[in-house]
Subunit: 122 residues, 2 copies
DNA sequence: GAAAGTGCTTTCCTAAAGGATAGTACTATC
DNA sequence: GATAGTACTATCCTTTAGGAAAGCACTTTC
């Protein structure tokens, strides 16, 4: 069997492909790493405090969680509210912009579960 | 304003939250890094050769691309076909399993474009 | 007055990601 | 016989991600 030949239509396709690739790369830049999406998901289930998020993510260290929360806040994906009390009380909530990731994350979760079954088998 | 109080219903919510988080983490493990999703997207636009993918991704080095392609093949997300010719001809195509990521990637692209406008402003 | 509780920060360290650069295999073309 | 063409591989190096462990602030509870 011979390799496929270049068709004229591919030129047009290539351009839209490149544009799409760029958009996906933009998204990945903001959402990079193992934790940002899981954090957003956790918070989108309801306003949470630091320790609660930490427990639900299972495995993240305080340092990393703190750093990720800052980045997410900077990108307006979550909001942070401090109450002056002691011991400290800080609440994290999803923003409207963060909510706009709902579909992405839902799809990803669905796919993750399906992939696990297919490849790992359980 | 006082911090929100813990409601009974949150117990139930927390469990489904943790399950969702796990699924998302599973997905992220397979799709980790800056390049895998863009590669899958590129290939899902049509069967491509090494150099073509390289050009469309804009910025990836040969070494990294080669490595990523191997991982994606191992996870059955793309297929690799070698034709014995000189210079070499190798074609990469999306698999059915890879196609199952279409919605995820499309959503991500849409979001990426919107986010760029919102935060970066162009 | 010791201990617990919360949301961090700090220091130190390892592993992995990823980039730069060059090289190879072999044929075809000029 | 130099050069181009393709899909890599190999080496070396820098940067980033991320983890482990401990410390701190200040109040309340025992």
């Amino acid at each position: 069997m011979a390799p496929a030949t270049k068709a004229k239509t591919e030129i047009h396709t290539a351009e839209s492909c490149i544009a799409s690739v760029r958009a996906v790369k933009d998204a990945l830049e903001v959402l990079s790493g193992r934790w940002k999406l899981p954090i957003i998901l956790s918070v989108s289930f309801g306003t949470k405090r630091f320790k609660q998020i930490s427990k639900e993510l299972n495995g993240i260290t305080d340092k990393v969680l703190s750093k990720e929360l800052k980045e997410l806040e900077a990108n307006q994906l979550i909001s942070r509210t401090v109450y002056d009390a002691f011991p400290p009380v800080v609440e994290y909530a999803i923003t409207d912009h963060g909510k706009s990731l709902n579909k992405v994350i839902a799809e990803l979760g669905t796919w993750g579960a399906a992939h696990r079954k297919k490849i790992i088998g359980r």
